[in-house]
């Protein structure tokens, strides 16, 4: 696992509070799990129909009827439970999730997020992502700061089709933690490895620097 991804996941794990009900998307969000402190109890929701998701199943212990939303064999805590997809999305859309963490192709200064299609190129579909972003109380976007070609994924305005408009609350990359406010993005924290100017340079969106800027 790359250090970049680990850094993002680790920082996001600090947003989780005892008792929270959390949905973790595919990719970086999945590994957030690994950094949740053992002294707090978190209910992991998986949109395919369970809450109380535990680790992936060990080899030889796979149960064909227990998978996570990525299709991997999983396990469930002894206080977990299963339900149909209607109930699963009632939980999501009904505001019963304290937090969802999603990856994205782009995210922007207005809290818009794009993660489900690149016109003419890639159309996987939105799956549960549109419901998750609209429904969860807090939406965190886990994202590498730039594309492999060095383009900022933190846009002033997304140009890919949106997953949701204005729903993202917090953006965490390997370089920065940015809060979405009515006045645009507020740079709250920067990675120890970089300085503010480097972050500003690598970010397409305008950043307001928090008076209380921290490192992570």
């Amino acid at each position: 696992m790359s250090q970049t991804k680990t850094k993002i996941a680790q920082r996001i794990s600090k947003e989780i509070n005892d008792g929270d009900v959390v949905n973790l998307g595919i990719g970086i969000p999945t590994i957030v799990c690994d950094f949740i402190p053992s002294d707090i109890e978190v209910h992991i929701h998986s949109e395919n129909g369970l809450v109380g998701l535990d680790k992936e199943a060990a080899e030889g212990f796979e149960d064909k009827d227990i998978i996570n939303a990525s299709g991997k064999y999983a396990t469930i805590k002894n206080t977990g439970s299963f339900f149909d997809s209607a109930m699963s999305f009632n939980i999501i859309r009904g505001g019963h999730l304290d937090m969802t963490v999603l990856g994205a192709l782009q995210v922007d200064s207005k809290g818009n997020i794009a993660n489900w299609m690149i016109p003419g190129k890639l159309v996987p579909g939105m799956g549960g992502a549109m419901d998750l972003t609209v429904g969860a109380k807090k939406v965190i976007c886990a994202i590498t700061h730039q594309t492999k070609k060095g383009t900022s994924k933190i846009k002033q305005e997304c140009n890919l089709p949106l997953t949701a408009a204005g729903e993202v609350d917090l953006i965490v990359s390997e370089l920065a933690v940015m809060e979405v406010s009515s006045e645009g993005l507020i740079l709250k924290e920067i990675a120890k490895e970089v300085d503010v100017n480097e972050v500003i340079e690598k970010t397409e969106a305008e950043l307001k620097i928090s008076e209380n800027l921290k490192q992570f």
């Binding site: 395919n48 469930i76 209607a86 699963s88 159309v123 996987p124 549960g128 549109m130 949106l162 408009a165």
Partner: protein
């Protein structure tokens, strides 16, 4: 006539141009035995309603990749490159719907509702062509019912009368689709005598289920 039938009797329920719902999330909770049989019937111009397109090399994903299908109504096809390719070359028309909206549309059909209002998709492509209705100042998409001619669902245990119990995360779309098709065919891993299921735990009542087929044991 009993509801428990042999696979061969399935032929007579299927026809060209039918709308068919298939339960399951990826491969979990999918009626693989029935689908493999249906896939070798010579059916044309199908419309399929399914949560996702699965994997092209097995189970429902193989069915979606190889059967003669005109339309798929679904929330996600990213796991099935063959279906993606057929979409790109115009062979299959894909209607993508947010998963929570899709399941409510299927439920709405089964529940006799004219539709439901959801905030999901407002400000995105998902609202294109949909009626937008404001409730207390908040915009919602009117999502209308989706039904089918046949639902192919998967259960863990069935009694001979057609009561069903699903297991763990294999529930997913199955209990909802069980309400939403003219003919409901349930594949069950176990078919027991009437009275052997705890009727407090039955998730789909026998009144919804028309036919039962036993799963072939996994190889």
């Amino acid at each position: 006539m009993g509801k428990v039938i042999d696979m061969q009797e399935l032929d007579k329920f299927f026809d060209d141009e039918m709308r068919i719902m298939i339960g399951g999330f990826l491969d979990c909770g999918t009626a693989e035995t029935v689908l493999a049989y249906v896939n070798q019937l010579d059916l044309h111009s199908l419309t399929i309603i399914v949560n996702d397109a699965g994997y092209n090399y097995k189970s429902k994903g193989k069915f979606l990749a190889t059967a003669d299908i005109n339309n798929i109504i679904t929330s996600h096809i990213g796991t099935n490159p063959d279906v993606g390719a057929k979409m790109n070359n115009g062979e299959i028309e894909i209607e993508l719907i947010p998963q929570g909206t899709l399941v409510e549309q299927i439920r709405a059909h089964g529940a006799g509702l004219g539709g439901i209002l959801t905030p999901t998709g407002i400000g995105t492509k998902a609202e294109e062509g949909k009626q937008i209705i404001e409730v207390e100042g908040e915009k919602h998409i009117l999502a209308t019912p989706i039904g089918a001619d046949i639902a192919i669902i998967k259960a863990w245990k069935a009694d001979k009368s057609g009561n069903l119990i699903y297991r763990h995360s294999a529930k997913n779309f199955n209990p909802i689709m069980a309400m939403a098709a003219d003919t409901v065919i349930a594949e069950a891993e176990n078919i027991v005598e009437n009275g052997e299921l705890d009727n407090n735990n039955i998730m789909t009542s026998n009144i919804f289920v028309d036919y039962l087929v036993k799963s072939k044991p996994e190889n």
